[in-house]
Subunit: 149 residues, 2 copies
Amino acid sequence: MYPLFKKLSTALASKNIRPSFQRIKVLEYLIENPCHPTVEQIFTDLQSIIPTLSKTTVYNTLNIFHKAGLVRVLNIEDNETRYDIITETHGHFKCEECGTISNFNIDIDSIETDGLSGFKVNDRNIYFKGVCPKCLLNIKHIDRKEHIS
Amino acid sequence: MYPLFKKLSTALASKNIRPSFQRIKVLEYLIENPCHPTVEQIFTDLQSIIPTLSKTTVYNTLNIFHKAGLVRVLNIEDNETRYDIITETHGHFKCEECGTISNFNIDIDSIETDGLSGFKVNDRNIYFKGVCPKCLLNIKHIDRKEHIS
DNA sequence: GTTTGGATTTGTAATGATTACTAATATTAA
DNA sequence: TTAATATTAGTAATCATTACAAATCCAAAC
């Protein structure tokens, strides 16, 4: 039994989630791939390890993890829900050109808000959209070429 | 011709959107209903004014408005995209009990971020989740009742 | 070790939001 | 008025997600 496996198993148990093989593998995947994967990505990649895996199981597992506060659900864009292991609070940036989602640091708790007195806040999400440096470079190149021709 | 109609018409024209009757009515609806409606709500309510209205038209119109920067798309929860007329930047709070989405003031531009140098930011979104004061009251009542019984 | 009951997983069918597509309609310019 | 173009309507298709039921697994009791 690998030490990581054991560690993840107890982590799940401490949240009252029975540590089945599938659940541990999904958790492991999320930790090793903090790139905000979709259900499709998780399912496809884990199929090589668990050939009998069902997509329903991935959905079920992620919903359980979400309820237990283990993962954050990202709904930046429609029709692609993404999942993120909850570590420290950070913001998400989605590049509108290449679609990549990257993290940035932000002290969410320090944000001053007006109009939330009496509200119980459980979850704070921040996401920005725009163009990442890589794509900005490409766009500039294209612009220059178009200018020359 | 009502003055508002004329005003909305020129507003659309200034964004290079041809001011059809349907588009003006959708815009008018969004302005009069800043309650983050879903496509379903917009469609149902406008049907009484435009009986021949198609849901596809509502989708098309909202997508056009979005591209023109007239509306903000809210994807707080999966499977319910909501639309919000863009006025000033504000945060959104979704009550996990009753589902209501309310606004709160926030100076998004003043937020300090680390890790976004070189990024071109076009859109900033903040949403919190939790329980609104109304539902907090109800939950407390239920708790008390359960405690007594 | 076997049995039993409950939890988990699987796979298929259903749901529901969104998009694709095409014919009909409306609008603009000539 | 006519022709060209944009918009709308309506249906069919797509795709992510959920519902459901049967199969499987697992842990505790015997």
